[in-house]
């Protein structure tokens, strides 16, 4: 052991790590809702034809456990519609991995919340795009504001830590202050938001969803005020960076984060079409190595440069291109 280096805390260089620190796993593309802005273009009947089977999903989980990935999120689509959802939750939490569920909240019955608590889920993030039924129900087609609130109440009663996610749109951006207040009132410990992204379903609905750019300064000013107001009581996180700025930053500083698609393919980041491996056939170690290489590929930097000239190319995020893998 060397004692030359001081114990310290700082940002980790991704290439120094033996495995990802966070795996964001979209366990299905099926969803009970059909949200106007859904980045994954999920919805009823939208499950991929080649989604991982239970056995394959368990094999991926076993690799995550073995590699000591500290934190994984299950999202979708709506992750709770997978029939083997609780089996996957049990297998991963018993393996010692911290697990977060990202859900629309419509399946958070008292029984399910108790199961999540008993299985040691670290947090459940519920999407709540609005402080009123009018805005929420408009954004989340087939969704019900009261059902989401009821689910959150059930989480709270089961003592599962709650996070709230809010996506701004033309018709709800002015509710941001009320939405943060509501999140605190219903017991959330974190609130997340950022700009609406021009991708997924939002490409088709941009005309009715995209906030006026002139509304964003007030949106972020309110969030700054709320951050202070709730300091010590609820954490308010928001990203002011637009998509292009975010991608340019990530090109220089890749996060130690995998995006796993429902079919096992691994994306570099949600907002790029590039994949770097397939956990159905590759080991986690192979994909992690390919991940490092892929971020350095000229195809990735060229895509980001092209995005600056033509924002519409981000609408092709689901036409995956393999880079750095098979």
């Amino acid at each position: 052991m060397t004692t030359e280096t001081a114990a310290h805390n700082e940002e980790t260089a991704t290439s120094d790590l033996g495995a990802p620190l966070y795996v964001a796993w979209q366990i299905t593309n099926e969803c009970n809702l059909a949200c106007l802005h859904c980045i994954e273009e999920s919805g009823p009947g939208k499950a991929f034809k080649d989604e991982l089977t239970t056995e394959e999903a368990y094999a991926v989980i076993d690799q995550l456990v073995k590699a000591e990935v500290p934190y994984v999120s299950f999202s979708g689509g709506e992750p709770m519609v997978r029939p083997d959802f609780f089996g996957m939750v049990e297998r991963i939490t018993k393996g010692g991995v911290g697990l977060k569920i990202e859900t629309n909240g419509h399946y958070l019955t008292p029984e399910n919340c108790k199961k999540l608590k008993d299985l040691g889920v670290k947090a459940v993030q519920v999407s709540l795009d609005g402080a009123s039924p009018a805005s929420f129900n408009k954004m989340r087609v087939h969704g019900r504001f009261d059902a989401a609130l009821e689910g959150i109440k059930n989480l709270r009663e089961a003592q599962v830590p709650i996070e709230i996610n809010f996506v701004p749109a033309k018709f709800n951006i002015h509710e941001i202050g009320a939405a943060v207040d509501l999140a605190h009132k219903i017991g959330a410990y974190s609130f997340y938001t950022g700009k609406l992204m021009f991708t997924g379903n939002a490409v088709r609905t941009w005309g009715i969803t995209a906030p006026d750019e002139a509304d964003y300064p007030q949106f972020f000013a309110t969030l700054k005020e709320k951050t202070e107001e709730y300091k010590g009581r609820m954490r308010v996180y928001f990203h002011e960076m637009g998509l292009l700025d975010e991608l340019r930053y990530r090109l220089e500083n890749p996060a130690a984060l995998f995006i796993v698609l429902p079919n096992g393919k691994v994306k570099l980041i949600n907002a790029l079409p590039f994949t770097c491996g397939d956990l159905r056939t590759d080991t986690l170690g192979q994909v992690w190595s390919q991940f490092q290489t892929a971020w350095k590929s000229p195809r990735v930097s060229t895509f980001i440069d092209r995005l600056a000239e033509d924002p519409s190319i981000v609408s092709r995020l689901h036409q995956w291109e393999e880079v750095g893998g098979k």
């Binding site: 004692t3 280096t5 310290h8 033996g18 620190l21 000591e68 500290p70 911290g98 947090a123 954490r235």
Partner: protein, 146 residues
């Protein structure tokens, strides 16, 4: 009294209640009633100390443990701590990793540094100094409980 202070008090005593004197000091600028403060305190305590029972157990036994929302993983360069609530990553040097390894093994706060000194050469006392300082940082950031 700040909410952080209220939380610390709750962690120490196990009581999520305020007496009149404390209530009088509780955030008067926000003009919250004693009842509202207490309710919020209970909510925060429930949320933030959801594994509080095991924390108290650790406290009684005089041992330290990683907070329930913290994950530890060894790396070639030392280790990382991942805080799942803020999703923040802490990179640890080999000394930091050795400290956390002892904590995971159930070290007593009073003799952790002595244990490290017994295991590793430290003629200058540098490692012991770093370990003591790092231990204080871990406590301050709430990454360990005792």
């Amino acid at each position: 009294m700040s909410y952080e202070a209220l939380i610390k008090k709750a962690w120490s005593s196990g009581a999520y209640t305020l007496d009149e004197a404390e209530a009088g000091k509780a955030d008067p600028a926000a003009a919250l009633s004693r009842r509202a403060v207490r309710l919020e305190m209970e909510q925060i305590a429930q949320r933030e100390t959801w594994d509080v029972a095991s924390c108290f157990s650790a406290h009684k036994e005089g041992i330290m443990k990683l907070a329930p929302f913290v994950k530890f993983r060894e790396e070639k360069f030392g280790a990382v701590l991942f805080e799942t609530r803020s999703e923040k990553v802490y990179t640890l040097s080999p000394t930091g990793a050795a400290v956390v390894r002892e904590i995971v093994a159930g070290a007593d706060s009073n003799n952790l540094v002595d244990k490290l000194k017994a295991k590793f050469d430290d003629p200058s006392g540098k490692m012991a100094g770093e370990a003591t300082s790092f231990l204080a940082q871990l406590k301050e950031k709430g990454l360990i409980v005792e």
